[in-house]
């Protein structure tokens, strides 16, 4: 039950967008549960999920979001931790990163070894600054 309820919650936190299902439909509930276990937050997560209706998934989208807004207002710290875990699972998922890459050109792989090519520093930009008098004060 907790996985199903968490999945419904994740779909509200991070809904579907073009070509990519919501975080719950992506199957990220298990990743969030694993994260909660690894960071000793499982009891907190269970408590939070207990406060959600069992039929959250069946409610209208606006009502689901309203239910979560109330829960966030009542338990901001716990709710914030779950949002962090949801974002962590979602934005490290290869399917999501591929989608970002397709939209923006961002390299979805690791930063190394490829890195990025940037134009070299242009010293001409500094001409107005070079001509200034010293800005620093002496120590006495």
């Amino acid at each position: 039950m907790s996985e199903k309820k968490l999945s419904a919650m994740l779909d509200v936190l991070i809904p579907a967008r073009e070509g990519i299902p919501g975080a719950g439909a992506l199957g990220l509930a298990l990743a969030v549960l694993d994260d909660a276990r690894a960071t000793e937050q499982q009891a907190m997560l269970d408590d939070l999920l207990d406060q959600l209706p069992d039929d959250l998934e069946a409610r209208e989208p606006a009502e689901r979001e309203e239910i979560l807004r109330r829960l966030e207002s009542d338990t901001p710290a716990s709710f914030g931790s779950v949002v962090n875990m949801a974002y962590t699972a979602y934005y490290t998922d290869p399917r999501v990163l591929r989608g970002i890459s397709e939209r923006t050109g961002y390299n979805p792989g690791p930063p190394q070894p490829d890195g990025y090519l940037l134009p070299a520093f242009d010293p001409e930009l500094l001409e107005p600054v070079r001509n200034r008098h010293p800005l620093w004060r002496r120590d006495a």
């Binding site: 509200v12 962590t88 070894p113 940037l118 620093w136």
Partner: protein, 537 residues
Amino acid sequence: METLDPVDVLVVGAGASGAAFSWRLTGSARRVVCLDQGGWVRPESIPSLSTEWERSRARSHHPNPNVRRNAWDYPIDDSQSAIRPLLYNAVGGSTIHWGAHFPRLKPSDFAVQSLDGVGLDWPIRYSDLAAYFEINDAMMTVSGLAGDPANPPRGPRPCPPLPLGEGARRIAEAYNRLGWHWWPVDAAILTEDRPHRQACNNCGPCDLGCPRGARASTDIAYWSEALASGVELRTECRVVRVTSEPGRVTGVDYLDNAGRMFHQPAETVVLAGNGVGTARLLLLSAADWCPTGLANSSDQVGRNLMHHPTGMVTGVFTEPLEGYAGPFAVSIFSQEFYETDESRGFVRGFQAQTIRSDGPLGTALGGYLPRLPWGSSHHDNFDRQFGHTASITVTTEDLPDPENRVTLSDSLTDRFGIPTPRIRYQVEERCRRTIDFGIERNTEVLREAGAVETLSLPLVESAGFHLLGTARMGDDPITSVVNSVGRAHDVDNLWIIDGSVFVTAGALNPTSTIQAIALRAADALAGQPLLREATDV
């Protein structure tokens, strides 16, 4: 407990200061041993080689030891601190996980009482460190450009400046239109290949470590030479106390990784932790003849903790800036508002450091910005910000406050059962006024640069990278812990060489100054003539 063979000089901590100090001492024909509670970080273990790099940054490689909880770490009770302390425990210390911004304190930073009537003057001046700054810049292979009118002259930089990227270029042009100062930063990052190290390829997350060796850390910049010169470095050795008898230290007791206790006798003990770790160790080393802590007859050990309270303004641009490309913390800075102008309503000033933007997870989680909202507006907000932002810090100057302090926790311990540090810290009102002023100025420049929206954060909670002031230097043993070269007033053969000895904090990143102080202390301990600039500045 096993007692080991005595050594001449025992250094505690292999980070920024301990590495520089140990290397500098190698010509003195003494037996030098350094202990560090961490181990070596292997290049192949650096998370930027993995697609999981952003998860690592949020978990196993988080800068906060309370989040990271590595075996080499100790927890810190920061429940009464407005700023979270951030540090790393390994060979290389916090230079393993830093942004490598490498400015120097300025001449006025050493004389804030004389010039501005606040804080205290240092017992040394910029000119006392100038020659050591140059030595250190060469060892750390700094990139940058000489000729900055906001700072005293310095030698040619070992490497040319880092590339600006689109965001910093726009901000530089905006500074020019406003007539404000800016300059490419000094950064401890290679822009040209060196033996065994490759030039930076702009991958972004320097704070996770650098598998190319482009971004300097003291494990590669200093330790390879220090070890080759005969310094012995023992890793995963946690010092639990400095042993002493009235007026002198006799060595240290330390635990190895298996929990075995050793006594290492030493002629001289040198503490090179940081403003939290060194204070903790001095307090843990209380004895019958020094019941409030070692070297603490002044009651200043642990007091006067200083960070750099930091605000942040982020500009959102319509056009993509690819801000995730390039070393995240370094491109340009402005010191237009660094020196005191009392017409602003406060003394001292701030440094504005341009910061690039983040990867997808960092964008969502925030940190320098609020976390992105969840729900139906989430994706629109992500698309608007990701790769489209550039940020500018408002880095302010902390001044010493004895109530901002490190003590020992009476309830929290590390994995060996040793009491952990407890921090009590509040941000001074003057800093908050400076941040408010700086947010207005940074907003102005970001708007001039073309930002269509600006977002500000009046205090970045996770910005406790700089841990300073808890064993300050001074000429008066009543009000300071060490003298002008780092020798403890109470204990002739105890030296402190890390950021703890700062008297005031300046308003900029301290590592370059910490290392210059450490190099100078090594010369003093070795009985060498201290290097000095020909003329005072």
